[in-house]
Symmetry: C2
Subunit: 474 residues, 2 copies
Amino acid sequence: MLTLDFTNCLATHVGSHGLDPALLAPGSEAHEAVAAHTKRLAGSRGTGWERWRELPFEPMRSQHVGAVKKIVEQCRGRFDTMVVLGIGGSALGNIALQSALNPPTWNLIESGKRGGPRLFVVDNVDPAYFASVLDFCQAAPGGLSKTLFNVVSKSGETAETAAQFMVIRDLLSKALGKDYAKNIVAVTDPAKGTMRQICEREGFTTLPVPDGVGGRFSVLSPVGLFSAAMCGIDIDALLTGAADMDKACSNPDLHQNPAAMLATLLVELGTSKGKTNHVLMPYSNALYLLADWYRQLWAESLGKEHDLQGNRVNAGFTPIKALGTTDQHSQVQLYREGPNDKVIGLIEVESFERDVTIPTGLGVEAIGYLEGRSMSFLLNAEKRATEYALLESQRPNFTLKFPKVDAYHVGQFINLWQIATAYAGLLLNVDAYDQPAVELGKQATFGLMGRKGYEKHLTSVDRALGGDRHVIGP
Amino acid sequence: MLTLDFTNCLATHVGSHGLDPALLAPGSEAHEAVAAHTKRLAGSRGTGWERWRELPFEPMRSQHVGAVKKIVEQCRGRFDTMVVLGIGGSALGNIALQSALNPPTWNLIESGKRGGPRLFVVDNVDPAYFASVLDFCQAAPGGLSKTLFNVVSKSGETAETAAQFMVIRDLLSKALGKDYAKNIVAVTDPAKGTMRQICEREGFTTLPVPDGVGGRFSVLSPVGLFSAAMCGIDIDALLTGAADMDKACSNPDLHQNPAAMLATLLVELGTSKGKTNHVLMPYSNALYLLADWYRQLWAESLGKEHDLQGNRVNAGFTPIKALGTTDQHSQVQLYREGPNDKVIGLIEVESFERDVTIPTGLGVEAIGYLEGRSMSFLLNAEKRATEYALLESQRPNFTLKFPKVDAYHVGQFINLWQIATAYAGLLLNVDAYDQPAVELGKQATFGLMGRKGYEKHLTSVDRALGGDRHVIGP
């Protein structure tokens, strides 16, 4: 199991910047709140927007894993490259799983020696970036016929993914003719919507985005599972890890429930101690992009103007990703001496699958202390040194420890944060499942793109951004 | 030239969350301060820690470019892969230049068709990551003999880089024998220090880290130029862009000087309006990692406990990188509805080298508005829509516009932020060139690694992190 050490969030260790342990003790308001919220979550899990909570359990689990593996089997040997077209919750989980569980050189390894296709997750409409990826797919041996495109969009109306899809559909059908549909797998609404219509018309293979599973809670559904399984990731272990973490996080005792404790610490430090920036800093390159996935979950779920009663609260915290040791040489100066407005979550890996010994024999005194040590020993010494240095500056921090980086523990990590987010929503009294502020930008985009019915948005944009501008430059 | 549009930072556009334009007008305190600081910077440039300012100018420019190009010429055709070993300022610039100016698929392109070697910049001591890169280098055709290692460390005593160096020196010398030194180019102190000693003993080719150029201001020195030139980047254009930006940023008139204006806006909004989180959000994948380079510059230069008179101020701002449109689906909900504690810097690219047309012919009404448009049009419409949406929520923001992404404009961008940082240091009255808070962690690491003379630090760490810990988990 992952462990959570939150000692350095307490006033005993960081003075007035930390929480009084009495605040968390049995009988305290926070302790009672967690018990009540746990009961509430046990009652609502699997319903409404909390359907994601059941993804690691039967019957959804077997349905999804079965459907995913069937398609993976059909694709085996047919594709050298896989391109995921999606954005936000339809991409961040895919990127994080690949980065956490396959080597960073995955795409460079020869086709026969990898456990699956090369993987690109194109989560933007940057034309230079997209064109480079398409160039590569076309120039690689076998070209587009050996490329699988995985379109991930519940509605099919997300502008970025729709645009990408239209481009690759055209390219594929020109290159492969009528059979082009065999190079597309769509993950979309099982029953309705624009992408579902297209899939039925064109005959694409599909996997479901289950009802009641919002984008940022969808990584353990076919949204995240399909590309992971294609690339040889053990999705069974991933889901087992998530399920085991769910059990730990169903405990009504704050001191036994890591998700409830994470949520309580971060919400309390954020609202009563001004620690509104929440850094996640893995001491592991593989885990770095999980912090990107966390960024969406934490920002979009909790960053809300109104509480559930409609009061204006401007709730939320700013999630920040950092990387140890790298950011010791970039951010730690600020973290120690700048405004004390952060909680820093350190992630430690106890045992690395691969280690590197620093050889003896250079014989230079100033760096002789490194000789014969392992690189993981150095990495973890630096983590411990940073923890100590943060403590000396009274900067609240906690440590999440992975026994090792594998699918089982990554599944735990994902569900730990998902469940912590559910608790944090309740503690902040906001809707963790909507994203109302995203709408205006979408409508303005429609207006600017000339979509019928959105003319008034174009007018509003032009009015707001028009007039005399203050510009320096030619 | 890059342009800076700061209209949306003003109270006329974001109400009380913005700055009163009178505050910036000729004769205002801010306007006079910039005039005085410009004079001060003109007097001190090229001396002390402000020597970086002269990197794009003669005589340093020709010295560095000449030395770099000579070595690039010697290396031509000899190496398929280049591995930079460095961390912080010895890596972030290298990564940013490569990402900005070469395609994302660079390492996947066949050797003959690239304009230089594959590039890895290994800025961590994660053993799994490092081992994967070394595996790749060893397994590639030609193996280590075709791999160039570029060690970047002024002193040679940075633990991470020293450890990496010791590993590759051992591997290379075992694989290549006495000739192994030909596969190493070190960028280090030209006269003294541990790495200099090693270079002389072992006969490595070297390039200088010039005196008075701190790590985070070193990208335009051989630290950043060598790997860039090896990978075919036009370092002359890069430096010309930097030099041209220097000229624009030497103007004592706040309203003509983009660096002074950026610094003034961010410092004023940060200190008087509570906007302490400074987001940089390029609408361009290529420019995304320049935001990582900016993170170090802005955090480490300004995040200071004490001002120049020794008063405790805990100055500084938290730099945050984001990516448009991608983070519209992750962070914009928070940026619009969460705490109004940010200034959001949007980066727009006017013209992309490559564009992609969204084809006609799908014939699905809901997404028909995309047909026939270019992807760059969509990307920039989304940028404009986000700017509008932020404005509607009274969130201060500004736009930096690149006419296009090339070495010349990237050079401008780099120097714009470097000079803005120098101004911001003066405005905040802090030393922008030191990083005192990094020391304690280094010493604690030495203690934990068993380095002689650091035993008391080990004791301190063990005492601080020992005792009863509050841990959830087995």
